[in-house]
């Protein structure tokens, strides 16, 4: 029991730390939290007829990234021509309902909710991206690294002008 509480605390703190880095636009710092083997995907939410089938499609991915392409996205942001985030959006990532689903020797599977507030440019209305994360973290050289992130948004048609931000 005691071990579980410590693990829960550790993982929650890791998720908060991650949010903080992203909200503060510290993308290099964020990249360091990722395993080289990272798989970073975002399937498409759909209104699905048959209840037996999931209400999302993994045939269509809104993010379909690995460490190479995530690095590209970050390097792009550092150029002075990444207009989509110039000036950068103000974001607040609220992570909650953190549930550890599986623990193996050096890996944990953790599910959580993400409520991402995005204020863009001079907009007086803000964009909200709400959804469900399924992550796998792995201990690499004593540090937790993100091996896989799967994020499913709640909207079928996203209420934001682009996904120039990480989820």
């Amino acid at each position: 029991m005691h071990e579980n509480i410590i693990l829960q605390h550790e993982i929650e703190q890791w998720l908060y730390k991650e949010s903080e880095l992203l909200d503060q636009l510290n993308f290099d710092g964020w990249y360091e939290l990722l395993s080289e083997e990272i798989s970073y995907t975002m399937p498409l939410r759909i209104n699905q007829m048959e209840k037996s089938k999931p209400d999302y499609s993994e045939a269509t991915l809104l993010f379909d990234d690995d460490s190479t392409t995530l690095k590209l996205r970050i390097d792009r942001m550092k150029t002075d021509m990444a207009w989509a985030e110039l000036p950068p959006s103000r974001t607040r990532r609220n992570v909650s309902n953190v549930k550890i689903k599986e623990v193996s020797e050096n890996e944990v599977a953790v599910h959580s909710n993400l409520l991402l507030y995005r204020s863009r440019s001079t907009d007086t209305t803000a964009d909200l991206i709400s959804g469900e994360r399924k992550d796998v973290l792995r201990k690499e050289n004593g540090d937790w690294k993100l091996v896989s992130r799967w994020f499913l948004a709640d909207q079928t048609s996203l209420g934001t002008r682009n996904l120039a931000i990480f989820v």
Binding site: L44, E58, F63, A84, R161
Partner: protein, 440 residues
Amino acid sequence: MTTTSTKQVPRLDEMTRSELIQYLKDTVKPEEGLIPSYIFSHPKVYELEMEKIFLKDWLFVAHKSEIPNIGDFVTREMGGQSVIVTHGADGEIHVLLNVCTHRGMKLCRMDNGNQKNFTCPYHGFNFKNTGDLIGIPFQKVVYGETMDKSKMGLKEIRHDVYADLIFATLNSEAVSLEDFLGDIKWYLDLAFNRAEMEVVGLPQKWNVDGTWKLGSDNTISDSYHTLVSHGSIAKLGLVPTGDYSKYGYQIYTGNGHGLNLGMPNPDGFAFPESLIDEYKERLNEDQYDILKQMKNMIVCVSPNIMILISSMDLKGQKISHTSLRIWKPTGPDSMEISSWMLVEKNATEEWKRLSEQAFTLTFGASGIFEQDDTENFTDITQNSKSPYHLQENIVFNYTMGMHQKPVEDFVGPGIVYKDKFNEANSRAFFRNWLDQITAE
């Protein structure tokens, strides 16, 4: 002391229909390259567009590969109207108004699925996937002999197919799809008839506070913005720097349709080598020759379709991807983008996978090309809402390339300019747009 200006803000909302049309004719001057700002967001202009363009033109609703089996359906929107596109029990494609003929409930509220029948959530009228009404709860009791079910089927929307693209129109008097598309078909062949193509998954959708017109305008003529808007991509070395996006042709084929064809391709053939036989079989010699040299192709089918073939180097491999999107108007100053990714059905799984990844990385909702375009669309639209733009008649400059002459030696149809840095296609697009919205 107060300052009074002698200038009046034209009150478009107080004009009669014919005054408004005259005002548009007086202020929009495509041939002179003068496009006034107010057209990008004025509600009165939007009203005309909805009525005279979106209720009149052929609009894209689905690709045949999305409904391969009997019973398959997708729901789509056209001209502000929800429709169900079905592969009916009779083996035919149907485009059905998604409105119950009893008292107007939206019949189907799913994005896709497979159904023999659709049952209305309100009172339970039951329709076949061909549109026929086949069941009414307690029919005998509630209607006696007075109800003729054969007259109460779902309204079938006129539709036709080209290159597996299903188009529909809310205008029963529209010219045929063949005639509407005209010579753009030659280029649609390159995109969708070069091989058997299939849609991957379902369309991604996202929303932008920008007018649909800026999407089409950017698609039909704007290779010039690549240098700056997409400058970050060149800085990363994913595309060449400098004027690379100039090389190729800008082509206008009529009815508001046109394209920018990027060629030659310094990286060589951008498509799967294993499909060369299929390409050769399905395309004519001239078309295949263009495909061989193609670096990219971006096509606007008016009013609001964009088709893109783009090639790049990803993870040391050259790869191309093909997509189609619509700039769906959701208001005078907003749109929803729906984007379909397509791939050669007979390509290897490995090729398909990389092509999908290249698409998502560059032109999906998170695409590193995509992202920067939506900034332009948003800010131009929002700027244009100021009454100051009307008061001063602020006009934008679309004169680029007016000194150029079309070339005669290109193999494909259309009015063809060598090099893509030109606004000729935008001038032609807005001429077509103006003629449509000011038609009596």
